[in-house]
Amino acid sequence: MWRDALLVAGKDVRIELRSRVALWQVLPFAVLVLVLFGFALGPGPAALRAAAPGLYWLAVLFSTVLATQRSVAIESGEGTRDGLRLSGIDPAGVFLGKAAAVAIQLIAVQVVLGAGIVVLFDVHLQTWWLALAASVLATVGLSAAGVLYGALSAGLRVRETLLPLLVLPIVAPVLIAGSRAWSAAVSGAVASGASWLKILGPFAAVYLAVGIALYGPLQETA
């Protein structure tokens, strides 16, 4: 399973590096979301600083939808989908590999967005490890949930419009817990922030487990 996951992740990352969709579309989109929300909130620095963690995670969530759509599109051709099924690759390995490739893109997005909220909103993290832990757990959960729901919508003609409807409500706990954990990391309230990791951790674990178990049947029915 791990060998297969590495193979699929390497293939997806290579395809993304070639197509540069993440670089030229997902990243600019994420920054645009951050800037536009900033415009909507007005120039008050206090309001912007308070809203920054929420804006950051909203931008990450929207980027997750784009990165997942791209991940699904890679396998959307009739031939490539059949090729993957005929290769004999463990479906759990396909799931983990695709989730890892999406996670790598989300990490890149978060690095840029992190720099963005520092520059644009003058936000500084007091407890960087809390923010890092929240980001790692959220990234695992978002990529696992995204790829799982991506597989669910893969065979449908309306998948581009359906996927956000499926994914965004499901990842709402990540938005809430990630925003709260980052707010706590900005203010230095470690105890309250750490409690939100108890939502992000199980969310990631559940979606990883469900994905490993269900990706195979979903691949067959898509």
Partner: protein, 238 residues
Amino acid sequence: MDLAVHFRTAVALAGRFPALSGVDLDVAAGEVLAVLGPNGAGKTSLLRACAGLVPVTSGEAVVLGCDLRKDRTLVRRRVGLLGHAPSLYDELTALENVRFAVRATGAGTDRVGPALDRLGLAGRLRRTPAARMSAGQRRRTALAVLVARGPELWLLDEPHAGLDADARAIVGSLVEEAASSGAAVVLTSHEPDLAVPLADRVAVMSGGRVAEERAGGRGAAATERVLVALSQDDVDVA
């Protein structure tokens, strides 16, 4: 006689629609079977069922000793399917596509280079992304995947389509080499004059079943005899 394919009254569904409606067919190891028939006869569905991509819902369906109704995923690693749409990733080069397909099966990549050479994909062409290849070059790359993987059952859906004369000749020799190495080959075609000369046996499909079976036509005289017999019997082969 080892049977690579053994179907008895096999019924398969593509979605909610019947794709095969009671197929009886045997293909022995080392045998080449040409499957002819008009559009919608069930040729592609037969190949996809053999590959375990279309579920067989009733009847008997055994491929390479595995019951397709129970463990079709076990069959997949051992068959090679050349479908209408080549299984290629547009952003990857010919070399990367073949290497990925081979690594996915757990096999070594030492056969990748020779397979690409065999299909005439040398030099810059093997470093060209699939998106920038012509339809014929994409099909050659898809064939190189099969050559590098070396499946026990070759399933070729209209293998001559979109290929130039040179590549068509390569397809012919690949089919012969596969059969002589003990692999079974099932190929479909709308061009009987290309498919029949390669085949030990010819099956004509109609309405999701095998309607006719004849001895094949290796050699020009035998091919002519089969084609004339099919036409005299008014069998719709294309």
